[in-house]
């Protein structure tokens, strides 16, 4: 077990090295006129040479990279050109908003997906199954931003409700905070539930055909006991993997929801940074998100080993 964890950690190193190389390249691959634009549009520096020096573009490539890694390892992701604050501080300040939205969305996603997936599998090829499967593909097809727009407009027409312009942190007023995050979380969760429901359905179908399920039926157990005790336990493990893989899609979805519901999270920050051509922030957010996804997926894999004795670490 510990050897497996160690090996996975070793494999993490080349991946992380590649991630930093990619993120590092973002600013180096910019066409020359963008640097000029950054100067003229945003007035980040007096002349091109000064701005290139600020961005560290005046050094040879390998030295820039070594410097970049060294700083990143110490948690120094550079300084935002726009706010003049350290990028990491800016990210960490906005992280709780995005994280809360993502966790809530995942909660709602599971709440919809797991029961729907089980029902669709147990009642395979009935109208209920077709209904759930068609709505799942529907959930994958309807743009989240459109659904959000329609919901906001309907709410404002029928209940005179508009999403508040000011964000209330969870710690200050939990009720107001939750009421603010509930809608975007449900909409994100709905989109997320589509793929999770499909996975749950196919896994439950697979488990239902196992011998031990036939034995459970033969013992005369009721349907709810067979499903809850025997099917679910075995079907849920791959579903958790899918959730892990959905993580990065979920983080992408928060960008749009934060922008529509005016939530001061990382996604909103990224959009602002793109508008301001604040490349150190764009780099910082990319590095932060990619590293988080890699580490979280590793954690999920390792946790599995404890949960499921059938998985052998080789």
């Amino acid at each position: 077990m510990s050897r497996y964890v160690l090996r996975r950690l070793m494999l993490l190193l080349p991946t992380l090295a590649l991630v930093t190389l990619l993120v590092f390249s973002i600013i180096r691959l910019l066409p020359g006129d963008i640097v000029t634009l950054m100067m003229s549009e945003q007035g980040y520096a007096g002349d091109k040479a000064k701005l290139e020096q600020m961005l560290g573009l005046d050094q040879p490539f390998y030295r820039q990279y070594v410097t970049y890694i060294g700083k990143a390892l110490r948690g120094d992701l550079g300084v935002s050109l726009w706010t003049k604050e350290p990028v990491l501080d800016e990210i960490l300040r906005r992280l709780p908003v995005s994280l809360e939205l993502a966790v809530l969305a995942m909660f709602f996603g599971l709440l919809i997906a797991v029961p729907a997936g089980i029902f669709a599998a147990v009642r395979q090829d009935t109208w209920l199954d077709y209904l759930f499967r068609t709505s799942a593909i529907g959930g994958l097809s309807v743009p989240g931003f459109w659904m959000a727009t329609i919901v906001i407009v309907s709410a404002s027409i029928w209940w005179q409700w508009v999403p508040p312009m000011r964000y209330t942190p969870l710690a200050r007023d939990p009720v107001r905070n939750l009421s603010q995050l509930l809608l975007p979380a449900i909409i994100l969760g709905f989109a997320l539930s589509a793929s999770v429901m499909r996975m749950t359905r196919s896994m439950v179908l697979e488990v239902l055909r196992e011998d031990y399920i036939r034995t459970a039926w033969a013992k005369g157990l009721s349907e709810s006991v067979v499903i809850a005790r025997h099917v679910l336990k075995n079907a849920m493990i791959p579903v958790v993997t899918v959730m892990g893989l959905q993580l990065s899609a979920l983080l992408g979805g928060t960008v749009i929801m934060e922008s529509i519901f005016v939530l001061p999270g990382m996604g909103k920050f990224l959009l602002d940074a793109i508008t301001w051509r604040d490349y150190p922030v764009i780099q910082g957010i990319n590095l932060f998100l990619a590293t988080s996804v890699i580490v979280l997926n590793l954690v999920i894999d390792v946790v599995y080993g404890f949960l499921d004795p059938r998985i052998r670490f080789g």
Binding site: Y130, V142, R198, I274, V293
Partner: protein, 287 residues
Amino acid sequence: MTSTVGSVARVFRIMRSKPLGALGGLLILVLVVTALLAPVLAPHDPVKMKSTDRLQAPSRNHPLGTDDFGRDILSRVIYGARISMLLGLGAVAISTILAAIIGIVSGYYGGRIDTILQRCIDTLMAFPGFVVLLTIMAMLGQGLGSVILALGIGGTAGNARIIRSAVLAIRANQYLEVARATGCRDWRIITRHILPNIAAPIMVVATLGLGVAVLAESSLSFLGFGVPPPTPSWGAMLSGSGRTYMIQAPWMAVFPGIAISLAVFGFNMLGDALRDLLDPKLRGGLR
């Protein structure tokens, strides 16, 4: 004659067994015809502004109403089909070709090349897809070409992995060994024996990719980082003024949204049905 009747009968049989896939195919057919015949079908010029016709509700002259510049929404939705198809096909062509090259090299040669390529794919997949799109757009600047390139690059990693697994599945087959034993070169084996055998998964990946591309483009344009105005893109129609006038003129945002949903729904349904028909091994593994 009999063969035509036979193939028609076969198509009907498939449509009967996959009604949802047939529905998807029908939606896509409508989309393609609309895109091709846009100048014939559109009742008005999609970019012509007319201040006297601002924000009109659906009527006989403007079946889907007009926007805040007095442009006909129906015509814009019809021309939007062109943009969506153009973007989707361009992006999918890029991502499928790149993914096929990476997937085949990785799966066929295996060994160290495979390990290195797979680590690269791992790395790319760690970045949230939509964040990658936004970042590429930030680097390239706005424009139709940038959107196509960004969507194409963004879709490559996931597709490469699927194509690699398809190659791995056929690599062990005896006919490849026979080909090698008779002195076939790698290039010949790849083009004559591997490509035809992975055509099915490539088709599935491309169909589903079209849906993803249409959806991603609309999200990009919605946020203002996609196709610049006045090009009638469905996503762009929903952003800015579409949202501002949402209460006053809901038709401005409702119809482009329906168009996006139907197109993506069609690609997803068709892709799913194709996957079931052509490649039962890949079932459930794509998403």
